[in-house]
């Protein structure tokens, strides 16, 4: 029996694919699982595998051609089989049904009565039909609704589809011995993609300095004693970095391939750890905000981030990033730049250390920070001068009001 070969959704976000090359040619015999073609998706080159066996009778989309997911790209059939009807009918591929053939073997478990597979939850416009409860469940589980089949009216994704989803995913997870394979969530995928984009192509270099925090901490204690909202060390660092960047615009910039965009305003992106990932909400115009405002904003943003309630505009548009692992007892670390930003400051813990002051050994509270710089934007001395300003301001915190 003839097997239609469809363009498959090889990534959860893939909408169309380009045939990079045909591995099998017309007339070649193919077995189930053979790689038929290499397909370029929005993210990578993937293999399109045969889901039937026979002869690759007809290639409908030549190498270099693009078609939407679900589009008919080839026909596998017996050598003498009449495929004229199949080839002629290629204008109307059963999009919903064919889009995810790979998932089919994994999810036959639920025997609940299902309405006929309508158009699928995905409408031509790209809108996903899902109930509010299903959306909420999916967002908390980090599931992409676009990967699910809906069993509600008109293919709407409802609660039980989301609840059934991990079962389908679990079926794909190999579990043996001492490791566990977990299919990354969309968030984890985004993190992975963004960071590979960073460390790979971005030429990083790192600058470390140790800052005496005695005065900054005294200032913090004094301010907190006033009692009108608490200020953290991190809030002070945000404020100081923002003010320092106003003096070092060369570090407050985006690499844009054919140009560098320098910003006048400083929008600090602060890394917040959330369940299964991290996100960087942005404190806008931090240089212009009072310490108290920054403290309130950073706390609110972190809370909303952990509740996964941030709106896109709340975590995009940063011009420089801060990552603080001090509260987790890390003395010093390097952070990966969040492109297109050109720099990120990794902040360690404040620890008491013996240091030499005026020729005598005394115990001081010290903090180590490491700046990662994109060498395409920031040169060594440039970064060093900026870091020097940061250190001076933290050591003389009165500079904040200067």
């Amino acid at each position: 029996m003839a097997t239609k070969v469809f363009m498959e959704a090889l990534s959860p976000t893939m909408e169309e694919g380009r045939i990079a090359s045909w591995v099998k040619q017309e007339g070649e015999s193919v077995a189930q699982g053979d790689v038929l073609a290499e397909v370029e998706t929005d993210k990578a080159i993937m293999e399109l595998q045969a889901r039937g066996e026979g002869i690759l009778r007809k290639i409908l989309v030549p190498a270099g051609g693009t078609t939407e997911v679900g589009g008919l790209v080839a026909v596998i059939a017996a050598a003498d089989e009449d495929i004229a009807g199949l080839v002629a009918g290629q204008q109307a591929p059963p999009a919903g049904a064919a889009a995810r053939p790979a998932a089919a073997p994994a999810a036959p478990a639920t025997a609940a009565p299902r309405p006929p597979p309508a158009a699928g939850a995905r409408e031509p416009s790209g809108r996903v039909k899902a109930s509010p409860l299903a959306r909420r469940l999916a967002s908390e589980k980090g599931l992409d609704l676009r990967g699910l089949d809906g069993s509600g009216p008109g293919g709407r994704i409802i609660k039980r589809d989301v609840l059934a989803a991990p079962t389908a995913a679990a079926a794909l997870q190999g579990k043996a011995g001492e490791w566990e394979d977990v299919i990354p969530t969309q968030l984890r995928k985004t993190i992975a993609r963004r960071l590979v984009q960073s460390l790979g192509p971005v030429p990083h270099f790192f600058l470390t300095t140790e800052i005496d925090m005695e005065r900054a901490l005294d200032a913090r204690e004094t301010l907190n004693a006033i009692g009108d909202g608490k200020i953290s060390v991190n809030d002070i660092v945000i404020k100081v970095v923002a003010m320092a960047l106003r003096q070092h615009r060369e570090c407050n910039a985006w690499w844009q391939d054919d140009h560098i965009r320098y910003f006048d305003d400083v929008h600090i992106a602060m890394a917040v750890a959330i369940e299964d990932g991290l996100i960087t909400p942005v404190i806008r115009a931090a240089h212009a905000k009072s310490l108290r405002t920054i403290a309130a904003e950073s706390r609110a943003l972190a809370e909303r981030a952990r509740a996964r309630k941030l709106q896109p505009e709340e975590y995009t548009g940063g011009t420089f990033s801060l990552s603080n692992l001090g509260m987790l007892g890390i003395d010093e670390f390097t952070a990966v730049i969040n492109p297109p930003e050109a720099g990120i400051l990794a902040v360690g813990a404040v620890t008491e250390k013996p240091v030499v002051v005026d020729g005598a050994v005394t115990v001081r509270r010290r903090m180590r920070v490491t700046m990662s710089c994109d060498h395409r934007v920031i040169d060594g001395a440039m970064g060093a001068r900026f870091l020097q300003t940061v250190r001076r301001m933290l050591e003389q915190p009165l500079a904040i009001v200067w």
């Binding site: 609940a112 009565p113 309405p115 109930s131 509010p132 409860l133 909420r136 509600g152 409802i158 609660k159």
Partner: protein, 464 residues
Amino acid sequence: MSKTFDVIILGGGPAGYVCAIRCAQLGLSTAVVEREKLGGVCVNVGCIPSKALLHAAWVANLVRHDAAQLGITTGDVTLDFGVAMKRSRQVSEQNSKGVGFLMKKHKVTVVEGTGVLQKDRAVKVGTDTYTASKAIVLATGTRVKGLPQAGLELNATTVISSDDALFLERAPASLAIVGAGAVGVEFADIFSAFGSTVTLIEVLPRILPMEDAESSAALAKVYKKRGIAMLVGAKVKGAKVAKTSVTLEVETSGKTQSLEVEKVLMAAGRAMNIENLGLEAAGVQLSDTGFIKVDHHLRTTADGIYAIGDVAGPPMLAHKGSREGVQVAERIAGQTPHPIRYDNIPSVTYCHPEVASIGLTEDQCKERKLDVQIGKFPLSANGRARATNETDGFVKIIRDKQYGEILGAHIVAAHASEMIHELVVARENEYTVEEVDLAVHAHPTLSEAIAEAALDSMGRVLHT
């Protein structure tokens, strides 16, 4: 007249006649076999006439107790149950005729008589045999039954059923109602308003035992104020039936008391109309609980025979039966209807104030160890309720703590029966409490209490 139809439906109640209309809409030739009146219990001796009497009861209470406060003074108020009863009969007649009209309009053949199943998808009515080429649908319903084991055999004079109560010419001086479910509670409302001394007797620990405990308590408080006696956790141990009175032996918490009343209304339990239906000959089996055994497509154990409504199992509600009728009609026509969500069928008691609910009660949530957040809003804080002098009751929404899913909702309010549907729609579409709040509610309405209860479940109630 052709004696072969695509579909033959036994029973013209709310399950059967709605099934017939839907079959006709889908182009199936359809016959309904009915031995009494079209519309079934619902239209003739159930939902509809009782609502007519409840309305009369509401007006009676309004005129007697509230009118003066509203600046309306009446002379001596005379209550005549007979007149109210006759009007309720007219309403029933009109509705039954309406069903007949609908059958005509949709070209559904109505066969008068008792249908008996035969082999090979045939039905015998009297001497005529009708055959169904596609399917037979059993929708014969249930009827009231007495408690013969306690000496309370229905006799239509002193020990009466709800059917009899609907035809009384006058309200009895005293009335004991056995069973404080929806039926018992509604009749207590009616007869108390018409001057009877009413005692509700319930074997379970509270009136409306299937409702949320808070709903039961709220209604009990109102009934107590109205002078309706309620014996809960009470068992009828024996009865002496005399010509014009009945003496009941009622046991509550180990103590037995005797209660002499003019009439006893049996409002507990219903019997299935399946005797002599020919189930065995046709191969239709019963389930362990005594209902007709059906699968989730409402197919019985006999090929081509479906069962809907009361005979197919609980909840025994007209709207559940009607929906099953639609479901089965579409399936017979080859469609794949969306499955019925049996956990999302509203339950309503039309007493004053009304009690309505959807989903789980608080106790059920506890039994299932669900992590819930409860939002509640009293009608005493609702402007509209104050304006109309109907501040008894509340709206209670039980939501899942993590996702905001509406697990259950309970309303005690003057118009709870109309209000509950907002939450039925919400649950059917899987809206969370947030969507309920986001929908702007008109002011001033009782429905605002729903939005407030949703807000309260999120800790953001505005008006308390």
